[in-house]
Amino acid sequence: MPELSTAPQSTRPPESAEVVVETRNLSKIYRDFWGRQKVRALKSLDLEVRRGEIFGLLGPNGSGKTTTIKLLLGLLFPTSGQALVFGKDATEVTKNERIGYLPEESYLYRFLNAEETLDFYGRLFDMPASVRRQRTAELIDLVKLNWAKRRQLKEYSKGMTRRIGLAQALINDPELIVLDEPTSGLDPIGTREIKDLILKLRSQGKTVLMCSHLLADVQDVCDRIAILHQGELKELGRVDSLLRVRDVTEIRTTALSDDAQAELRALVERHQGHVLSIDNPTTTLEDLFLSIVGEAEAHPGRRPRES
């Protein structure tokens, strides 16, 4: 997937005020057979997702993330409130022409192969045969499944299934892409590729709504996030501003000698500051893993850390 790995990570179109997804006082109560309240999954959620942004829904299991997505897709009906997509009610079928959806487990027909799968979903968008063929070839190429495109999905690994699931979500070149745990089941390389793809999609002006409980993934790609807990919205805002620790100042320099560090401490104390730590920074495990694998692929047979 070369074009994905080299995709611009921060190329962003100008922010838009156009609201693509909106929930107004959205609530969902699950009831049992007799109509008795079983679970209050979502409580008066107010959200807006604007065109061109990557919006993350965060929260622990059972917080209401998937329920929100299902309500937005019309898979569930709200108990009260409204879910609007492109200004239309979420149960309106025509809105789906502009949406791509990757469910949590890539629920696909396992007796079809990759080509048949994409062709099938292409038909659901009423695409002519020539367009379907072209789009199928492009997407199989994009998700790097050319080598397995004629194998039934039941023979696919979980990572491969996620890739073909993503391809089906993009079959209609959607304006809004809804991703439910997009990196679930993927190895670190696959995870990175998906994250790069998400960023690339944003650079193309598409809107991405994703939910995940993998915080690092959300932090890496999302512009704005909403944190849900027990069906309630607890936090909403830009990732960079939410993560900024305002009462701590960080200085990053190239490596300093002990004397220079002592001088720095003295300077900070002179200004009534308190040095919390001066140390060499650590990288993330993901970056470490990717650099090792990249090095190993570039120089087979050599231990990267020794070089």
């Binding site: 569930l76 038909r123 968008f125």
Partner: protein, 604 residues
């Protein structure tokens, strides 16, 4: 063929009952709306309930109008692939095995093996295809919902109507393919299984004695016995001829060679498959005093389909045929009869009972036209279709004067046939369709295909109901509901009789009480509180029985097995009625399924 209810002409049937369909649908729709509004009002208040129902109705019409054939076909293709994955083709293997074993237990020595074999293959096909259709259709959508694969469908611009229609089309396509293959196998099976020949050698033949002064060239004799029967044969001087008709067929005889080395070769059985197109008449009776009556005698059989006339009296059965046209007949008037015999004494059991019939002008009041043929005698044989041919150039009146059928006997296309039993103490039993004229026969192969059309309609109904139930029930329950629809559909007439209180032994509770207490069906129950309770419960029970018998499709009305196996062409009126009836169920079942899928949450 027993035809208890003569099929109505299609347009008459349509004219008489067209209003039942919109009325029933309208009442059901109104009931559904009221119930939906009441439930919605309780949950969300009347305003929101009304708004939701309005949106649902408008949205449903929009969905139906914007149904995309490409998306429907996409879902249909998926259903076909899914069916193949679920080893639906194994059904063909099972069918092959059933046919292979059928050769062991189907007796080709029967009096009419063609009927037996045709009955078997058509029934076996139906009983294999219908359960398969139930399994395929009832589990598909619930499996999609259970496996969440439906998430990737309904989040595309796919309407519920397209999902339901696609499923129905896909499974119907699978069922159609199965039926086509089974039909071809069945046809080959019947034709090949009944194919046989006999041997005929010179020693079996004797010269027919010729009138004095002439030299006979005809020989007669009999063939060897094969498949439980032999044929009497007549051959000419060249050795060519034909056998008589036994077991519903005959063989052509050709001679090979000449002189002492001449041998006779019998061809394959001919005339064993028919698609008769009879002209039925209107039946009336004369009693033993010769007076006209509506019915004959009831000889005690509970089924009053046939009435009996007593032999050796003036009792007669009279058929009045309409539309008897000269262009439909050549120099013979073919007629066939299926007469039941009730013997009060054994008589010669090997020989049929002697009867006779006359052809006559229906205008018996006009002395100038009051003409009838001489009596034509015959021996009535039971359980076979007795074929007669009246040679028109040999038609005379009882004074020996020649008669012209078209000039003397047929009046405005009408002709009467009066039939009597000549042996006293014996009775002939007959119903209206038992005697008919046979101007022509249709293609058997086309009739065989029409027989499969009835099964196809049953399969289509089962598939539609299976998909409909599966839009809101889980797989196992949808399967049970579909089987219940199928089973109930085969007993709608029974349910109707039960609801109308026409059955002996009372309602279901009373019947159960009689079974447990080993009481006869005929006598009344002892009066008392218990009997009152039973009658009240049965009265309550009749309401759902009545509704079910009116709402469920009568699956048995789609069966054309009797027509095909008995060798009668399936009338176009019957087929049109069946197709219209099936459509009348399929359309609302599809709409119901579409609405229930549209108005439900597919996720949990």
């Amino acid at each position: 063929m027993d035809l208890e209810h003569e099929p109505l002409p299609y347009l008459m049937w349509l004219r008489e009952g067209w209003w039942i369909w919109p009325l029933t649908l309208g009442l059901l729709a109104l009931g559904a709306l009221v119930i939906s509004f009441l439930i919605g009002s309780l949950l969300h208040g009347p305003g929101r309930a009304g708004d939701s129902i309005y949106k649902a109705i408008v949205g449903s019409f929009t969905d139906l109008l914007r149904t995309s054939p490409r998306r429907v076909w996409a879902i249909a293709r998926l259903s076909i692939q899914e069916s193949l994955r679920r080893w639906v083709l194994a059904g063909l293997v099972v069918f092959g095995v059933v046919l292979a074993f059928a050769l062991w237990f189907l007796n080709a020595d029967e009096i009419d093996p063609g009927t037996l074999y045709l009955d078997f293959v058509l029934t076996a096909t139906a009983w294999l295809v219908l359960p398969m259709s139930v399994f395929l259709s009832a589990f598909s959508l619930p499996n999609d919902i259970k496996n969440h694969t439906i998430y990737t469908i309904v989040t595309k611009p796919v309407r519920s109507s397209e999902i339901v229609l696609g499923r129905i089309v896909g499974f119907a396509a699978v069922g159609t393919a199965l039926l086509v293959v089974m039909g071809l196998f069945s046809y080959l099976f019947v034709v090949r299984a009944l194919n046989h020949s006999h041997e005929l050698v010179e020693a079996d033949l004797t010269l027919i004695e010729a009138p004095a002064g002439t030299e006979s060239a005809l020989k007669e004799g009999r063939t060897t016995t094969d498949r439980g029967h032999f044929h009497r044969v007549t051959v000419d001087a060249e050795g060519n001829g034909a056998t008589d008709v036994r077991q519903g067929h005959w063989h052509k005889i050709t001679a090979e060679g000449s002189g002492p080395s001449q041998r006779y070769v019998l061809g394959p059985p001919e005339g064993q498959f028919h698609a008769r197109e009879p002209v039925y008449g209107k039946l009336s009776f004369k009693n033993r005093a010769g007076e006209y009556t509506d019915k004959g005698i009831n000889v005690g059989n509970e089924w009053t389909y046939r009435s009996y006339i007593d032999g050796g009296t003036q009792a007669a059965a009279i058929w009045k045929f309409n539309n008897v046209r000269k262009q439909d007949f050549n120099d013979v008037l073919p007629l066939e009869m299926t007469i039941r015999i009730f013997r009060t004494h054994k008589g010669n059991i090997e020989q049929g009972i002697l009867g006779s019939y006359v052809l006559r002008n229906p205008n018996q009041n006009d002395p100038n036209k009051k003409r009838q043929s001489q009596p034509i005698n015959f021996y009535a044989r039971e359980f076979v279709i007795d074929q007669h041919e009246v040679k028109l150039n040999e038609l005379h009146d009882d004074k020996g004067q020649p008669l012209d059928l078209w000039e003397d006997l047929v009046e405005d296309g009408q002709l009467e046939l009066e039939l009597q039993c000549l042996q006293s103490g014996q009775y002939f039993g007959m119903a209206q369709p038992d005697v008919y004229l046979l101007p022509r026969e249709a293609s058997f192969e086309a009739n065989f295909a029409k027989g499969y059309l009835g099964i196809w309609l049953q399969m289509l109904l089962v598939t539609t109901f299976g998909v409909m139930w599966s839009t809101f029930l889980n797989g196992a329950v949808a399967m049970l509901a579909t089987f219940a629809t199928l089973a109930g559909g085969f007993f709608t007439q029974r349910m109707s009789e039960l609801a109308d209180g026409k059955l002996l032994g009372g309602g279901s509770i009373e019947s159960l009480y009689r079974v447990v207490n080993q009481q006869s069906m005929v006598g009344d129950l002892d009066e008392g509180a218990g009997t009152t309770v039973i009658h009240v419960l049965d009265t309550i029970n009749r309401a759902p029985m009545f509704m079910l018998s009116r709402v469920l499709p009568d699956f048995s009305s789609f069966s054309n097995v009797d027509y095909v196996s008995a060798g009668f062409n399936i009338p176009a009126d019957v087929l049109l009625t069946q197709v219209t009836t099936a459509a009348a169920y399929i359309v609302p079942a599809f709409i119901f399924g579409f609405l229930s899928l549209k108005l439900r949450e597919v996720a949990k």
